[in-house]
């Protein structure tokens, strides 16, 4: 077990493994995203209440899922880096943070736009949108803290601690915001309280969610590989790699 962890953790081995994995992920991501989009935009029936603005769900929900799972993944990668000192885990955490922040912003923007036809205003302090806004601040905090330290591995460790503290607080924040929202607007319409979506609406959503996750994996692999090259530039295997690329 110990040998496997360290072999898995060696940047060189990860670099080569991800080289093989990456094209498959990109292929799957593009395939899933295209089919999901076409299905969601063209063929899925419009919602009887909201009409076509319902189609925003095929972008909003996957982005919201991804925003939260990227933060959790980042916290787990931070824990792996802090406990087992595996540098690749921290490189992956550093690579995925901006992606998570971007997905949070996308979820926030699409959620707000989705609310316009139903609520008539651009911003509505809906429980889920508020939690998403706070999640965006947590992302910005982690990214800003990572960059604030002179030495890279101090910044990495600080960002890992903050990601772990943040991930413990996400359910607490979500619960308190939901409680706060129901206290002040008990009866109003909430976006996600969907009774049960019919299959032809729900299936494209599943495909889009899978597409978003494949996109996330592919992009994180690519950015982690760049991070490996940047941090291991002095290693012999990187020099050899550069040599043969010249």
């Amino acid at each position: 077990m110990w040998g496997l962890i360290h072999k898995l953790g060696s940047p060189k081995w990860f670099y080569q493994l991800s080289a093989r994995l990456q094209p498959w992920c990109w292929g799957a991501a593009i395939l899933l995203l295209v089919t999901g989009s076409v299905w969601g935009l063209f063929f899925a029936p419009a919602d009887y209440q909201q009409g076509n603005s319902f189609r925003i769900i095929y972008v909003h929900v996957p982005a919201a899922f991804l925003a939260q799972s990227v933060f959790v993944t980042m916290a787990v990668a931070g824990l792996v880096y802090m406990v087992w000192k595996i540098k690749v885990a921290d490189m992956a955490a550093a690579a995925m943070a901006p992606l998570g922040a971007a997905m949070t912003f996308v979820a926030l923007f699409s959620g707000a736009v989705w609310g316009v036809p139903t609520w008539g205003t651009w911003w509505m302090w809906d429980a889920r949108l508020t939690s998403m806004l706070i999640l965006l601040f947590l992302y910005i905090g982690v990214i800003a803290l990572r960059g604030a330290f002179g030495r890279r591995d101090s910044g990495a460790r600080a960002a890992s601690v903050l990601a772990m503290v943040g991930v413990i607080n996400i359910p607490i924040i979500k619960y308190s915001v939901d409680w706060w929202y129901t206290l002040h607007q008990p009866a109003s319409f909430t976006l996600t309280a969907r009774p049960s979506m019919p299959l032809e609406m729900w299936l494209p959503l599943l495909i889009m969610v899978l597409g978003f996750y494949c996109f996330f994996i592919a992009l994180t692999l690519m950015r982690t590989r760049s991070e490996i090259l940047r941090r291991e530039a002095k290693a012999r295997w990187v020099q050899a790699l550069i040599e043969e690329a010249r």
Partner: protein, 69 residues
């Protein structure tokens, strides 16, 4: 798919503005992130090559032009 039905579909029953702005922003971010990652990688490789070239004076290259440079 006549032109008329295409325009009618794009209008999305009046909600077109919202649907396309949401999808548009998502597409911009995802494509932007992907392109940025590729650009970042290409710049990094070029920078590493320059450093490698600076440290080890490379043998005088023949007339063939280096495609990557």
């Amino acid at each position: 798919m006549t032109m008329a039905s295409l325009v009618e579909w794009a209008a999305m029953g009046g909600h077109g503005r919202f649907v396309w702005s949401a999808w548009g922003v998502t597409a911009v971010f995802m494509v932007g992130l992907a392109l940025h990652a590729r650009l970042e990688r290409r710049q990094l490789l070029r920078q590493l090559k320059r450093q490698a070239r600076r440290q080890t004076p490379s043998p005088p290259r023949g007339p063939s032009h280096d495609p990557d440079a």
